[in-house]
Every structure is written in C-alpha cells, then in structure tokens.
C-alpha cells in the first residue's frame, strides 16, 4: 500500500550502480566522459526543424545511433518511437545493463521531462489545422504525446513493471526525479529505483526560448561577463539507485553515493530567479543538511549555469553567500557550455557528469570561458583539470521557480 507505510528504523545509504547518458557529445559514459573532460563543445546549426526566421540558429543536436539496442520492445513499439523515446531508451538501457539488475515487478521509475512526446503533439496540431478531416495516425499521436506512455515503454523494454512518477518542474525536473527516487529509498518505500530525465529538441520549445530572447546568438558562456544567453540541447540520462545493502548483497560495482537533496520553490517570478538567489541558497543548505556536509566538504559544483544574465548572477551570488570563504577556492563550472541546456534532462545528465568527476577525478572545463562575471568570487573551471574529487554538488532550477540541489559522494 502507498498509505499507510512504515518508515525504516534506520535511513539506508543510497548508492548508484548504473548510469546511462546520451548527449550531443555522444551515446554512453565513455564518449561523454571524454568530451566533458576535455571541454569539447557540441553546437552546430539546427537541422531538425526550420530556424531560418529565429534569432538563434544553433543547438546541440544528438546523432542518434542507426540501430537501437535489443530490448523487450516489439517491432511495432519500436516503429512508434520518436526522438525523445529513443534518447530515453538508450540512456535507460545503458543504466540497466551497467546495474546488472534483473527484471522486476515492482521497480519504481521516476522521470523528469518538460516536453515528453512533444514531436507527436506538434504533428497532431499541424495535421489538425492543416488537414482537419484527415484523422490518420491522430489517435496514436494523442496517446504517445503523453510522457507516461514513454515511461511505460521503458518498463516494457526492460521487461519490468512498477509505479511510474513523471515530475515536470521545468528545468529542475531531472534533479527532482532523482531526488524523489532517493527519498523513496531513504524512507523505505523501495529498495531500488530507476530515475532520470529526458527531452528532445523540438520546434515549439526552441521558438519559445528564442521569443524570450533567452538564446545566445554567439557562444554559450555561463558565468562569463560577456554571456548573452543559453543554448539548447537534447539528451537523456538515467541512473540506477539502490540501498547500499542491496548493492553489496549483489556484489555490484558502485559508481557513487547520493547523500543529499534539497528542493524548494522560488516565488519571485515565473521565469526569473530571485536576484539574490534566495531559494538557491535554501536548497543548497537543505542538501548539505541532509548530506551532513558543509561547503568546506564540497570539491566541485556543477552549476545550473544557463548562460543567461539573470540566472548566472543570481546563482553566483547564492553560491558565494552559501560557501563564504570557501568560495574563493571552490571550483564551479556549467556543462551547459558543452551540450547546451537539456531542460527536463539537464539535472539527470549533470548528475551523471558528477558521477564521472567522482569516478575519474577530473573537473569539466568551460573552454569558451574568458572573463569572469564580477558576481563570481569562485574559480570557474575553464582548463583541463585533474583533481581530487570526493563530494560534488549539482544545482538545477526551473521555470516556475522550483530549485533543486543534489550532493554525490565518491565511492572508494
């Protein structure tokens, strides 16, 4: 029963035993780790839809592999997959394979997304207005547009079943999904869970950010004084979370430990953060409190760092305030400089990047970064850098004001 429930006498430790990632840097851990370690950027002219009348012309598009991995999906299901489905499937399959989990009947799946199957929605709308008497494929689009149908597809692909939770807190969705899965395990609602985020590029969302003049027309440079906006990307990441006891029982390889999570809502504005980053400060403090660490213990921050003027100055002030004297030596970077803003996938992808830094002991540089914003009194990582990394913090903030911070610890 979901209610009433019993809380375990002792909060279990939660570890990550599988991670899947796909971004414009490539499919899988290896190609992404190499790209982020060297600070490679993956922007190119948009080919997926017409941007000739938009201000911005570039995005970080994923080259989908020609063949999808062998899963439990049938030919008809595979034929119906859209771009977002494929991204999600690739990430989930990698995480699943790496975790070594067996098919299960009660595996919670928690996903974050902002657009779900938006390509189906766009096609539905176009056909409905352009050829209103043509009903062909409209019922399928009306169903597959919905993110829970994509989530069910993942469970079918992995030959699993279990409760599905779709979190849609805009660009904090991926972090919130992982945080929610972590809480399910911490509070004894599940022993393991699959969590992540996904979003594919689509015309409507690109147009939305372009209309807001939030897209950079030059280079995406988070925390740089000359920054002029964000760049959009697409991708997915999924992680396998389980209790330490479960992982040890199976003899699983542990990629890292999720030790802290904070989330709160900024009531300042629908699209703008509080100028002083009040809610960002709150969630970083919350995450530290649940993790039992202080800013002195954090070795790296993967910032939300979109590259917009308002976000980065607000986040920089919050980090500076939160970290105090530690800020002067605390390395910070935003990997949105490499792969763009992945919206609902951002928090999950950045969580996997944090795991990479912990496993491989390097920091992801922003190679296009040149001139620090005056609000940044912390070093922005901009060169290849090996480092001793034990604890990392990842920030994510969304339209609507939901902020989230996750804290990961190295497993050694």
């Amino acid at each position: 029963m979901l209610f009433p429930t019993t809380t375990p006498p002792q909060t279990p430790r939660v570890v990550i035993t599988g991670a899947g990632i796909i971004t414009a840097l490539g499919a899988g851990w290896k190609s992404n780790a190499e790209g982020f370690r060297t600070g490679r950027t993956a922007f190119r002219p948009v080919t997926l839809f017409d941007v000739s009348r938009q201000r911005a012309k570039q995005a970080a598009e994923v080259d989908l592999p020609a063949v999808l991995p062998q899963t439990g999906l049938g030919a008809r299901q595979i034929a119906r997959l859209d771009r977002a489905d494929s991204l999600l499937l690739l990430a989930a399959h990698e995480a699943w394979r790496q975790s070594g989990w067996e098919p299960a009947e009660n595996l919670p799946l928690v996903l974050g997304t902002t657009a779900g199957g938006m390509s189906f929605g766009e096609d539905y709308f176009r056909q409905a207005v352009q050829t209103p008497r043509n009903h062909r494929r409209q019922p399928t689009r009306a169903v597959n547009y919905q993110p829970q149908v994509q989530a069910r597809m993942i469970l079918d692909a992995l030959d699993c079943n279990g409760p599905i939770t779709i979190v849609s807190n805009a660009c904090a969705s991926g972090s919130n999904a992982i945080g929610h899965a972590w809480e399910l395990i911490c509070y004894g609602r599940a022993e393991r869970a699959l969590a992540g985020g996904y979003d594919a590029l689509c015309g409507m969302v690109f147009s939305g950010f372009d209309a807001l003049q939030a897209l950079s027309t030059t280079i995406c440079r988070p925390f740089d004084a000359r920054r002029d906006g964000l760049a959009l990307g697409e991708g997915a990441a999924v992680i396998a979370l389980e209790t330490l006891e479960s992982a040890r029982r199976r003899g699983a390889v542990i990629l890292g430990e999720l030790i802290g999570y904070g989330t709160a809502i900024d009531q300042h504005h629908l699209t703008q953060p509080h100028p002083q980053g009040n809610t960002t400060l709150t969630v970083m403090k919350q995450a530290c409190a649940t993790a039992g660490v202080t800013p002195d213990d954090i070795d790296y921050i993967n910032a939300h760092g979109t590259g917009t003027v308002l976000n980065d100055s607000s986040e920089a002030l919050a980090i500076s305030h939160w970290a105090g004297r530690r800020a002067a030596t605390l390395p910070v970077s935003s990997t949105k400089a490499n792969i763009g803003h992945l919206l609902g996938a951002a928090g999950a992808v950045e969580a996997v990047i944090c795991l990479m830094t912990l496993r491989e002991q390097w920091l992801p540089p922003e190679t296009m970064f040149e001139t620090p914003d005056p609000a940044c009194n912390f070093p922005v990582v901009h060169k290849l850098q090996d480092a001793r990394v034990n604890v990392v913090l990842s920030n994510s903030f969304g339209f609507g004001g939901v902020n989230a911070s996750l804290i990961f610890r190295r497993w050694a």
Binding site: F3, Q148, P163, S207, T263
Partner: protein
Amino acid sequence: MSRIFVAGLGAVSPAGWNVAALREALDKGEPLPTQPLERPGWEKPLRARLVPNLAVRPGFLAHPRLRRASPITHYVVATALEATAGLRANQNPKHRLGLVVCLQSGCVNYSCRFFEETLQDPATASPLLFPETVYAAPASHLAAVLGNISLATSLVGDPAIFLQGVSLGAQWLEENRVDACLVVGAEEANWITSDALWHLEHSAVITAGAGALCLCRNPEWSAGVELVAITDVHTYSTRNSRMQAARAMRGQLGKSSPRELLCDGIGSSSRVDAPELAAWHDWTGPRLSPKQILGEGLMAGAAWQCVAACDAVAGGQFTAASVSLVGSNQQAIGARFKAVAQASRL
C-alpha cells in the same frame, strides 16, 4: 505512521466555482448541459462542458501574477483558496504549506496559441505566452499567490496519478517537511483536447476545472475526514492489462458495506469503462459516478471523485468512502477515506 486528515476541499467544475456547486450537481444526478466548442476546419462543433463564467470577477484575479495566467491557473488558485480557507482563517501564516499539482494535458490553451504563432511566424511569436505553456506554471502562480508554500512539485500522468499526489502529500506530512499539503488536480479545455478525446472515444465530452484536497496531520485542523488507505500503484504493461490492474486495485480496497460510498470513474463508454465495471461488479453499496454528470475532466475528474467522496463523508451521509481510479493509459489505484469527529475550530 502518522494519521493524515483532510483539512479542506476545493472544486471548480462545469457545475460552478466551489464544492457546494459540485455537490448540488452530483446530488441532482443529471448530466450537465453541453456547449458547442468550435473546431477549426469542421462544420459541426465538438461538445464540451465548460466552467461557467463568474458573474463577479473574483478578487484573487487582481494578483499581479494572474494577469496573464491561463484558465487552468485560475481554476487551481480558486480550488486552493477554497480548500485552505479554514486553515488560513485559523492557522499561523508561518506554517509551511506543501503543494502537489497533478496534470494530464496541462496548459493547452497557451500551448496551442503559442505553437500556432510559431507556425505562422516564429519571429513574432509572443514571449508572454511561452512561459505559461509549461506544466509547472499553475503551481508557480499558486505559490506566489499563497506565499507560504515551501515545497512544490508538478506531476504529469494519467488521471490515476492524482492519488499518487495524495500519497506524496501524506509522505511530506509524515516526514514533517510541511504542516499542511494541498493536492490539486486540474485541466483546462480547448478544441484540441476535445479533438484528441474525440479521436480516442467519440462519446466522451471534455470538461475542465480543478479539485483540491488539503491534507494535514493535526487532528484539530480536520474537516471530519481521515485518509485511511491508498492502494499500491497497478501499472499497465504488456503483462498487466487494464482489467487485471483494476481488479488488483479493487482487491486491495476490500468489500462493500451498506454505509460506505464508492466514488468511481465510470463514464459513458462501455469499452473504456469495462475494466472498472468488472472490478466492482459485486459492489452492492451506494455508488457515485461524477463523470456521468460532469464529463471527462481528465486529472480534474480524478480530483472531483476524491473531493466528492470526502465531501459525502464530511457531510455525514456515509461513514466511509472508497475512490476508484482506473486511468486511461498508466495505472489503476484506489483510496479509502473515513469519517472522524470534526474539529470545532473549523
């Protein structure tokens, strides 16, 4: 384990802008009249049951955040204000309020308008519309209006996730992260949601609105209803049909009793309703099917079922009520509420 109580209810529906209007329509038991909904490119309009316009503009719409907000946000705010009226009258304003907003279609009006503008000329698409298209917009506006929401999330899924939202609210209360938690299910209607529904089930009539439950742990804030149980989530899959999931949910809710109400999701389609009808075929107690009166409200419909069940218990008509949610494409889930002595202060 903590006890969880219902501190207040709220509803906006085609019957009107409060729970009393919903109750009156359900008591009457007759399907509400439908209105024509123009469908571009079709000579014959679609049918819908729309939320009636208020004769007097409600005061909350003067809030600056609601100037450009879409109807779904208006519904969410109105239900939330109704559901928290008792708390706001008696509670310390510093108390922490949680918010879970559940949606299936979400902010379709502005999404359609913005995409239409994008198709015409993206260079002139309105930047004011786009932020209002995100699923998180109603929760954001409500948080700004109420001012004491410390924790909020928006969940998307089929209507059966409304009870997952209730479960999440109960979890936040049990973990002492909030003092009360609002759980809202909401939808707005336009020609595209009606068109999509028509493609899936010709006989269904789209409707819109919202329903809210305000949950609390403090028995002194109770409105006379306690949450007793929420079943497991029974997700549909290639191996677990909608029929099997509905049966499993029913199995967890137990047997009928003559003083217990069943509030189900039976509508107008024998095909769509078959799994739920089969799951509850042996129910001999009283039954309420709001969808037959109000129409297909998607997530709002699931919320109305819960509101109607709690309202019937709070009003003393029944000692307990079960809610059956057999969602369209995700899961089946059920819940049970029972009567408790109503706190005098509310």
